[in-house]
Symmetry: D2
Subunit: 205 residues, 4 copies
Amino acid sequence: MTTDLPLKALAITCSLKPSPAPSSSDLLTQQLLDAMAGHGVQTELVRAVDHDIRPGVEADMGDGDAWPALREKLLAADILVLATPTWLGQHSSVAQRVLERLDAELSDTNDDGQPRTYGKVAAAVVVGNEDGAHHISAVLFQALNDVGFTIPAGGVTYWNGEAMQGTDYNDLEKTPESTASTTATLAANTAHLARLLRDAAYPPA
Amino acid sequence: MTTDLPLKALAITCSLKPSPAPSSSDLLTQQLLDAMAGHGVQTELVRAVDHDIRPGVEADMGDGDAWPALREKLLAADILVLATPTWLGQHSSVAQRVLERLDAELSDTNDDGQPRTYGKVAAAVVVGNEDGAHHISAVLFQALNDVGFTIPAGGVTYWNGEAMQGTDYNDLEKTPESTASTTATLAANTAHLARLLRDAAYPPA
Amino acid sequence: MTTDLPLKALAITCSLKPSPAPSSSDLLTQQLLDAMAGHGVQTELVRAVDHDIRPGVEADMGDGDAWPALREKLLAADILVLATPTWLGQHSSVAQRVLERLDAELSDTNDDGQPRTYGKVAAAVVVGNEDGAHHISAVLFQALNDVGFTIPAGGVTYWNGEAMQGTDYNDLEKTPESTASTTATLAANTAHLARLLRDAAYPPA
Amino acid sequence: MTTDLPLKALAITCSLKPSPAPSSSDLLTQQLLDAMAGHGVQTELVRAVDHDIRPGVEADMGDGDAWPALREKLLAADILVLATPTWLGQHSSVAQRVLERLDAELSDTNDDGQPRTYGKVAAAVVVGNEDGAHHISAVLFQALNDVGFTIPAGGVTYWNGEAMQGTDYNDLEKTPESTASTTATLAANTAHLARLLRDAAYPPA
């Protein structure tokens, strides 16, 4: 049995700001990854905007495209965490670009007609000054599910401030207890579900 | 010229609770209507759940349907305000029912092929414990625009609390300044645009 | 071990039209349930609008409310299928009402702090003359996930016609092959995931 | 009076493919611009992905950023047309980037506290193999409205094919009549509303 092998999680964070600028998306994502580590998950965080991910919907857009290297990490992982800030109430252009590149997975199928994302679990992380998390998690769930991922119960952790205010998640003096608790549950549920699906793959169509 | 005639605004609020239960949607809507009154607008507020609006997409679903009477008020108004609470991040079932009934307007056109909603202006009001206003205003703008309404600049006023908290808008000790200011601008813009369109209708197709 | 016990699926369909009017939502849902039966799932279909589900967000709104009886069926099932037509690009008011009633599950938790929906799997069915399925499945995934359900890979089956056309799914002479194949995969994935989660519950928080 | 001066429209199209690759977004947008020309509007089309628009939310991100030049065109126009393809049911990453850059307009206000986008009208164009137009127009309306634009009645023209099919708008042998008619109405309504607002600005807050 393979249950005791560690799981791997890849987090792709989608701030508009390159490293080393501080990022609320990265902060909440790292908290999630730390919690996952407590459930036997090996984790890695990549900030997408640091990489030259080309526009397009192929697995490799050629010519210096940074996606193929990220895609290798993704295909080796059991869990994808996609994290985004909120701009005009929407997921960031960087997050949408990652989703567009994932669209190619639909046509790279195994002998059973399943994409290589099948059996992987996706979790969402959303932060913003003010509202957006429910809508954005809806978009992420749908898009990630569309390309083959499974969504665990309580599949998102998030923080938004009160309407029309300007504080960021990484400006907060302490992590709000409700967000911390949601993060902990998401880590546990994601690891549990990923382990189940690694050991018992979806049947061929 | 007709510019000096008062404009009429009908507000339909979509709380799940019948009157006389207090409603955050009603509170913020009344604040908007009060501000519109300062711009020469005659206003009326109807709480939809107090009326037996039948499921369906015809102008009259028969058999005690309360929509035809509300529709008469709507067709006599220059401005529609649609107000909704946030449930699971979405507009309420009561608000969706109102939108479904408005779908019938697309097939009740004048000699120029325009629905009777053409030239009317729509404004949105969204309240909720936590996030939802951007998404819900998007849905309301699209649905109301789809059936013929024009959306003024700054077409929504709203309030949401911080993520995962439980205070309602009508629990607040005072109106947040940012929401109050947004409400005032929405009232002014709506009245201005409704007056322009009353005096200069969209051209026939 | 319990793996061989049959799974139970409850489908709630959200047409605006009461029975016995034909419903595209019911047709595609029944096709999904038939496919599930081939995976050892016992199924039941309920058309929500035939029942007097009261507005509100409590598990029982009293006074003839039909939700408590439906809720009993739901809590006894391993799988929830939520099916909706598309009106103005959105899920129906009837579907939103069902979601609102599910909101109560968040506060009815077991000793581990988990809602009774935990471990259940949700699948979506969306039909419409023209576009809407991706957005609506996003909304359903988010709302159902928010109240405790897990979403299987390929968690929706759907059909929409070309832009601005008027044919319904149940007007089609034959089921489009792509929809039929999506339905078959959804049935298999939902049954597989529900069986895994029945046998290995999410860990306590 | 200024009514007879021509209006100016800037269209920003958001295909993922740089010129000279054919683009469905460009095709439908050009049809809209041609129709606007018949209403006395001077038009220009820019394909965003041909320009190095940097990630960020400032008016000028420095260092070769192409947005400031596009922004000058935008501020000189009375009408903005934003056109996007559909990927995973969402507006493209290129379209989201344009919206993010427009976010800066909220803080560049005139003496009356109004952004320079006030009084400008926005129209949406959405194309895709399959569904997405209602949702995407909702997102575009909300985001563009949020940064100051007014949305005319019938504020979007669009085309999507049947569910799960692969033909593009620019593969069609002829323009579907319903889309052509929607485009014509959008052109007329946009020009009419832009003229009204140019001659009668929104009042100061």
